[in-house]
């Protein structure tokens, strides 16, 4: 049954993102802060690092496409960014260390990279005209804080899930 657990968790996270998105923006002292949930990509990075690179990339492409089709209506944006971020993460972890704290930090850094890349893309096609400083203050930093809380709470669950699956698979092969 654990075979289906990873895709199942991915689907749940995919559906939870917009539900959390309903609560944003948050107003504090007259300033609106946008908290953007990035649960799925963080989970996929963990899957890629602790379980299987191919699988993670495949899920990243599929869920990226779904995200594009359902939410963004620009096909190919997330379908490109999700696997790219996943690959970067796996490459970085291979060169640094597999410890969970290191992986958590790299994941958060890459969420910031993803956010900045999206900002760049939407600025380029003229959807938004927001100066970088404002973007960093009202979107990037709050998003990082919210996502780091999520990751600190659930990162070890992701890790043990991916680990258990890869151990299982190795035993199956023996």
């Amino acid at each position: 049954m654990t075979r289906l657990l990873i895709p199942f968790v991915a689907v749940v996270l995919f559906y939870l993102e917009p539900v959390f998105g309903l609560f944003s923006p948050v107003e504090i002292g007259g300033v609106y802060y946008y908290l953007i949930p990035r649960f799925l990509i963080m989970f996929l990075i963990f899957v890629g690092v602790y379980y299987n690179r191919q699988r993670a990339l495949m899920y990243a492409i599929i869920f990226g496409l779904l995200y594009d089709l359902f939410h963004i209506d620009i096909i190919g944006l997330y379908a490109f960014l999700y696997p790219a971020v996943c690959l970067l993460a796996i490459w970085a972890v291979r060169h640094i260390h597999q410890h969970i704290i290191v992986v958590t930090l790299i994941t958060l850094l890459l969420v910031a990279v993803l956010e900045t890349a999206l900002y760049g893309f939407f600025t380029m096609i003229g959807f938004i005209g927001m100066p970088f400083g404002e973007f960093a203050a009202t979107r990037l930093v709050p998003t990082m804080i919210a996502n780091s809380v999520f990751l600190v709470l659930l990162g070890w669950v992701f890790k043990s899930l991916a680990n258990r699956r890869s151990i299982q698979k190795r035993e199956g092969m023996l």
Partner: protein, 305 residues
């Protein structure tokens, strides 16, 4: 240092990137209609999304209920005061309504730009990356929703339908910077001043009403409603209140900042307004429909419906 990619992988990656970039440009160009695979994906994902957003709505509703329960006493006091006024207003309203009907009879006018049929819908999802302000609702073509219909909450107008599939539709909120997004509006006062809602001030979180003729007198505090002249929106949906009046960049027309009446932050239940009076499409051989497709509600010269 070990090689990051083998040659084969590199080629595969490059091909992938090229395909995706092509897809991005394809979908950017052709943004306003969903093709069949897109529709299927939207409906299937939308169905799954329901399983998650319905419980979430239930919980937030519950919290709201508790919240309003705590304020009951205060609210009751306030409402009791209003009740006295209410009876008088009610009497006046029925009188005015009767008179209006009689006058319409005399003139022989059957259609009214104000008439609309409400379709109630729940919000399935809000675009989680929040760059474009979009929501997906759980009513679609099979429930009679069409592109460009007005969407509102009980407080006021919030946006319009930009994409429909059989069971879901996508709504773009007024708070967008898309230059092609316009809503024809009307300032309520002694004389009615017309203008177009175009653009959004993200810093002040206010809409901008442009192209108001300089000869019209408008002041802060006046209410702004939809004018119904674009051909798709019904007339009289509340948009907001003027907070500041300025002249535009060229000094030819006036523009005003409008504080939206509806709160865009926490949307759960919305109403789609299906206009009753149909667009007139007489001698212009389908141009109305074409114009409707292209410029949505905001056609500058209205189509005379």
């Amino acid at each position: 240092m070990p090689q990051f990619f083998s040659n084969k992988r590199l080629i595969l990656l490059l091909v992938g990137v090229i395909v995706l970039v092509a897809l991005i440009f394809f979908s950017l160009r052709d943004r306003d209609h969903a093709n069949l695979p897109e529709q299927i994906v939207k409906d299937v994902v939308g169905f799954g999304q329901q399983l998650f957003s319905k419980p979430a709505h239930y919980i937030t509703d519950l919290i709201d209920d508790v919240d309003s329960l705590l304020n009951t006493y205060e609210e009751n006091q306030r409402l009791r005061e209003r009740l006295v006024e209410y009876a008088a207003v009610q009497a006046e309203l029925s009188d005015v309504r009767k008179e209006n009907e009689r006058l319409k009879d005399i003139v022989g006018k059957e259609d009214d730009l104000r008439g609309f049929e409400p379709i109630h819908a729940s919000v399935l999802a809000r675009n989680p990356d929040q760059w474009e302000e979009k929501i997906v609702i759980d009513r679609g073509e099979t429930h009679g929703i069409e592109k460009n219909m007005a969407v509102m909450t009980s407080q006021g107008l919030i946006g319009k339908v930009i994409l429909t599939t059989p069971f879901t539709s996508t709504v773009q909120l007024l708070a967008t910077q898309d230059p092609a997004y316009r809503v024809s509006a009307l300032v309520v006062g002694k004389t009615e001043a017309f203008g177009l809602i175009e653009g959004y001030d993200t810093e002040r979180r206010e809409l901008i009403l442009r192209r108001i003729d300089a000869s019209f007198e408008i002041k802060e505090g006046q209410k702004v409603i939809s004018s119904g002249l674009g051909g798709i929106f019904p007339k009289g949906l509340l948009i907001g209140e003027i907070t500041e009046v300025t002249t535009d960049d060229f000094g030819l027309t006036k523009q005003a900042h409008i504080k939206p009446a509806a709160d865009f932050a926490m949307l759960e239940h919305v109403i789609v307004a299906k206009r009753k009076s149909t667009e007139v499409d007489g001698s212009d051989a389908g141009n109305t429909d074409e114009a409707k497709d292209k410029t949505a509600d905001g056609g500058k010269d209205g189509d005379g419906s």
